[in-house]
């Protein structure tokens, strides 16, 4: 559990960080909170020669309201998300998800940007971003660009982020009346990744669901949208029978890998159950709004 040798860089600005990344294109690695990267380095699964720490860069911090959107600096920690009055008020789904990530020590260091950039199918924010239809703001030598969450997660540890780019912020829509969310994550114990997780955001017009996104965690090579059950529920009045049909479609959409958390059959069933719960929670909240 001793990492290999590396050189440590602590750039003061995003531009400095991008420059450092450009200087070390093959063996440079960005470190944020470090709670995914450091364990991999200690196991020597990852041995970057240059570690570029962006955790302390001021322009990557902070949560602001930009019209109907919230802008969250990439280096905002899980604890800061949980404590943010703005996030609690305008996007409580993120708070609920952040509270279920790991343990307090990790949440004090782990960042939303790091969680998203890592591309781990077990991380929780990717599904939340998909369900919220968030934008990922990234910056590289060519300047800033925005990537929609649905285009961001390409595979296990593979994202649309170019090797010379850094995530600078996340933009999520503030919740509107008639919108409800559900976040359910089954885990073996505190600190564990999800056995299966389901995040749902839906909007009701009257009793009809006119918009729904269902995103799943750790039941495929990456977090993904379960489009078949979304299509089933879209434009319908959602009742128990429909939820059950959707749950079956959720199960069919999963392709989990077997591990100590369970085999594929168990994980598919758990994804379906988490989806049932999240759809019900989202409905109840949408009606309450």
């Amino acid at each position: 559990m001793i990492p290999g040798e590396f050189e440590y860089h602590a750039p003061a600005t995003v531009d400095d960080a991008i420059q450092l990344l450009a200087q070390h294109p093959d063996d440079g690695k960005i470190i944020a909170g470090g709670h995914s990267l450091l364990p991999m380095m200690k196991l020597r699964f990852a041995e970057p020669a240059h570690l570029i720490n962006i955790f302390e860069i001021p322009e990557l911090k902070g949560i602001t309201e930009e019209g109907s959107m919230l802008r969250i600096g990439a280096m905002t920690t899980e604890s800061e998300l949980i404590r943010s009055a703005l996030i609690n008020q305008k996007c409580p789904l993120i708070v609920e998800a952040a509270k279920m990530i790991a343990d307090p020590q990790v949440r004090n260091r782990g960042t939303i940007g790091g969680d998203i950039a890592h591309g781990d199918p077990g991380n929780d924010h990717p599904a939340v971003m998909l369900a919220l239809d968030a934008d990922i703001v990234v910056k590289g030598p060519q300047g800033e660009r925005t990537i929609a969450a649905k285009d961001f997660f390409l595979g296990t540890y593979v994202t649309a982020l170019e090797p010379n780019e850094i995530i600078t912020a996340i933009r999520v829509p503030a919740s509107t009346p008639g919108t409800g969310y559900g976040f359910n994550k089954l885990k073996r114990k505190t600190g564990d990744f999800a056995t299966a997780g389901a995040t749902v955001v839906l909007h009701l017009k009257g009793n009809t669901c006119d918009e729904i996104r269902i995103a799943l965690t750790n039941v495929g090579p990456t977090a993904f949208r379960a489009e078949a059950p979304e299509a089933l529920l879209q434009g319908r009045e959602i009742d128990d029978a429909l939820i059950e049909q959707a749950a079956i479609k959720v199960m069919e959409s999963c392709a989990p890998a077997e591990d100590l958390r369970g085999d594929a059959e168990y994980k598919c069933h758990m994804a379906a159950e988490m989806a049932r719960r999240s759809i019900r929670d989202a409905l109840a909240r949408a009606k309450g709004n």
């Binding site: 343990d103 564990d192 758990m270």
Partner: protein, 801 residues
């Protein structure tokens, strides 16, 4: 016995036996001021790290150290070839086998020690381990112990394949270690043949790891000038380590100093002598400089002593009223690559034959076969006395299964079979003499406290609604306090315990014991024993352990032996001092000894108010005014060889609710009644019970060491290995009765292991009970949500309406 208010006040000031005195250890621990092995820093200290095998079974074709040695800062790379001239490439185990210190020609388990690298810096040492080039030829791995004795099984231990005995009796196959039998085979067979009812069940007690918070490690420092070796070490048995190191190294015991400083939990993991210790010592002797070796978490879980791995088959014979007529148990024990389990030497299955439990069973027979597999070696008491957890699990499962078969309530079947309160001391069919007990009373108290009948009614209602609620019940008997030297030894040393107490002229005390606290708070509780016995305040009593240069020889702390054996030694040594004090008091008061009464903290002349001498006054006099012919000073030593084990017991009840759709279990209630005899510090007892219940919860609900078909250990980090936090841990309700041990000087029995031993089958009992109405009689641990869901799914209970 103090009775008046004035006497009670004086007694309270002592903070002696029965007082919930705060732990003396805590101020330094909670301020980060503890001193653990990894805190030890010696001048010139260098660092060792291990090269370990990626294969579970392979032949070593070659080892090339050149690249590692070329790395600046690397001082040495040692392999079995280097240790061979010193005859240290293998070491004896406590069980009569040998264990490779560094792999000699073959590796027998994944992560086995192949070479040790010593460097000036911890980081360089780690880098250098990657530069040691080892060429392996992979061999087929033997993972399933049920296949170990097959004719075509791969032969693991080529070093002993020709031997018909590897230290524990005759064997029948190169992968066989021992067969051990106890009891009456014929009468048991006959009981099974003629019984009205027979129940039989296979069950696996899976391999689990104690995983103390602090991993194992040492700092070895050899002084070439003085020829003295000092080793700071994470050991639950420093004196035994000194003896073993002396035998291995040839250095006289008097020139070896073993120091166990603060130890961050042991639970049996820190009883053995590991290759890391031996190689650090060798490296220090070779290099003449202190060498530190500290394992990381993966190394701790993968290579140091685990527990259990017992594949058991139980058979109970009974009549239709549920009265047991006989018990037969067959066990296949997976001991891994080397038979290095830690037990009293003569007991290859430890104290497993306590498996008749709390019940009056007329005849029984037990057979245990140990086999080698390509897994890490070990097999220790994980918070239990030598296979007692396995034994209690077996009998308590069998009681439930018998109750189910006969449709008798699980409380009632136990009542019908209990050893009666007036039958103690009770000789079991397998030869133990249970010292004292009152099982009926303990069970009745628990059932009343939880309103058992109401729980059963609620369960019936829930079952009718298709909900899963389970009630677990266990009435266990432990055997702890190893042990009488006529029955128990370690490497030929009897399993006594020792205490040395000195009373200073001012009445303060220093006492040293052969045990070593790994978190049990000996500094607090031993002082309380002395305070009550000598009438001196515990605040002024200093307890020291763990330094072999100063402490008297003792066998250490494991198997709940500190209070039963060390506590007894402490009481007896204190009584020797009080006997001398009485003579001094008689001399000072110019009366005969017989005219004196002991009263809390002083001797009083019978019938003459005011004529008295306090212990403090006597302590002063012991250094200047003693009777003619008496030597000065006030101290005593006792080496206590217990006449018997002690037999704590308890009644536990658990209520669970199971989520049918996820398999998750909510432990709604856990009520634990323990009887550990005389209670020295109730607060510390409660802490021990909370800890033991939490570890039991971890074992029952999640801990396992899964191996794949190639012998790779999956799940050797805390990501997978289940250590519950306060989020997962249920609320514990504790209760007690007091049935003193008749043979212990204080009547105390030991308590730390009971909650572990007793709770594990109680969780299983509750989980199985949730499915009992559907015909389920047993489910193997761990009862993770995944595994419970598989049962739910198999039974079709998760179908949506």
């Amino acid at each position: 016995m103090a009775t008046t208010a004035e006497e009670l006040d004086r007694q309270a000031l002592l903070e002696g036996i029965g007082c919930s005195r705060k732990r003396k250890e805590d101020p330094r621990f909670i301020q980060g001021k503890g001193n653990y092995v990894d805190d030890v820093k010696l001048p010139g200290m260098v660092y060792a790290d291990m090269v370990r095998s990626p294969y579970a079974h392979a032949r070593i074709k070659s080892i090339n150290k050149e690249k590692a040695l070329a790395l600046p800062g690397v001082l040495a790379v040692l392999t079995a070839e280097d240790l061979k001239p010193l005859k240290l490439h293998w070491m004896p185990t406590l069980a009569g086998d040998v264990q490779a210190v560094l792999a000699d020609e073959k590796v027998h388990f994944q992560y086995q020690e192949v070479a040790v690298v010593v460097a000036t810096d911890r980081y360089i040492a780690a880098d250098a381990t990657e530069l040691v080039e080892v060429e392996y030829e992979a061999l087929p791995a033997l993972v399933d112990p049920h296949k170990a004795l097959d004719a075509d099984a791969p032969i693991l231990r080529e070093d002993v394949k020709e031997k018909d005995n590897v230290g524990q009796g005759p064997r029948k196959h190169p992968n066989h270690i021992f067969s051990w039998e106890v009891g009456d085979r014929d009468t048991t067979q006959s009981a099974l043949d003629t019984a009205e009812v027979v129940v039989k069940q296979d069950m696996l007690y899976p391999r689990v790891h104690p995983s103390p918070l602090e991993t194992c490690g040492c700092v070895a420092s050899f002084d070439k000038v003085k020829g003295q070796l000092t080793v700071y070490i994470t050991s639950q048995a420093p004196h035994i380590v000194r003896t073993v190191v002396s035998i291995l190294s040839g250095v006289a015991e008097s020139k070896i100093r073993i120091i166990s400083p603060d130890i961050g939990g042991g639970f049996g993991n820190k009883v053995g002598v590991y290759p890391g210790y031996v190689t650090a010592i060798v490296a220090s002797i070779v290099l003449g400089t202190p060498v530190k070796w500290i394992e990381d978490r993966i190394e701790n879980i993968s290579t140091t002593a685990w527990a259990r791995d017992y594949h058991m088959t139980g058979e109970l014979a009974a009549d239709i009223s549920g009265r047991i007529k006989g018990l037969r148990v067959n066990v296949l024990a997976d001991h891994g690559a080397f038979n290095s389990h830690a037990q009293p030497t003569k007991w290859p299955a430890g104290l497993f034959s306590i498996c008749t439990g709390s019940y009056d069973i007329p005849t029984a027979h037990v057979k245990v076969d140990g086999v080698y597999t390509n897994k890490s070696p070990g097999g220790v008491a994980y918070r239990c006395s030598f296979r007692v957890t396995e034994a209690v699990y077996l009998i308590e499962r069998m009681m439930d299964i018998l109750a189910q078969k006969l449709n008798i309530d699980k409380a009632e079947i136990r009542r019908r079979n209990f050893i009666k309160a007036d039958a103690f001391p009770y000789k079991t069919a397998l030869g133990w003499e249970v010292d004292s007990g009152n099982y009926q009373a303990a069970l009745a108290k628990v059932l009343d406290a939880v309103h058992y009948d109401d729980l059963r009614k609620e369960q019936a209602e829930k079952r009718s609604r298709g909900e899963l609620m389970g009630i677990g019940l266990v009435t266990f008997t432990e055997i702890v306090g190893a042990g009488p030297s006529k029955a128990c030894d370690v490497l030929g040393v009897g399993m006594f315990e020792s205490a040395e107490i000195r009373v200073h002229p001012t009445g303060s005390v220093i006492a040293r014991m052969g045990t070593i606290s790994t978190g049990q708070a000996h500094q607090t509780t031993y002082a309380q024993i002395i305070a009550t016995e000598l009438g001196l305040p515990s605040e002024d009593i200093q307890i020291e352990e763990g330094d072999t240069d100063t402490a008297p020889y003792g066998l250490g702390t494991y198997g709940s032996r500190s209070t039963p054996v060390g506590g007894a030694a402490t009481a007896v040594a204190a009584r020797k001092i009080r006997a001398k004090a009485q003579k001094i008091a008689a001399h000072l008061l110019e009366v005969s000894e017989a005219d004196l009464d002991w009263d809390v903290d002083r001797f009083k002349v019978k019938g003459v108010p005011g004529q008295e001498k306090t212990m403090k006054e006597i302590a002063w006099a012991a250094y200047n005014n003693v009777p003619d012919g008496m030597e000065m000073g006030l101290e005593a030593v006792d080496y206590y060889d217990p006449p018997n084990f002690t037999y704590p017991f308890g009644a536990y009840l658990c209520v669970v609710d199971i989520d049918k759709l996820t398999g998750e279990t909510k432990v709604r209630r856990f009520y634990a009644l323990d009887d550990c005899g005389t209670r020295i510090n109730p607060m510390i007892i409660e802490g021990q019970i909370h800890g033991g219940l939490t570890e039991g919860f971890a074992v029952a609900m999640g801990q396992e060491m899964p191996y794949d078909a190639e012998g790779n250990l999956l799940g050797n980090t805390f990501m997978d290995y289940f250590i519950p936090t306060f989020v997962e841990t249920p609320h514990w309700e504790t209760d007690y009765t007091v049935t003193p041990s008749p043979h212990h000087p204080l009547g105390a029995k030991g308590v730390a292991e009971s909650p572990h031993v007793g709770s594990i089958p109680c969780f299983t009992s509750a989980i199985v009970d949730a499915f009992a109405h559907l015909g389920v009689t047993h489910m193997d641990m761990p009862h993770s949500a995944y595994r419970v869901w598989q049962k739910i799914h198999e039974l079709g209970l998760d179908k949506q309406a």
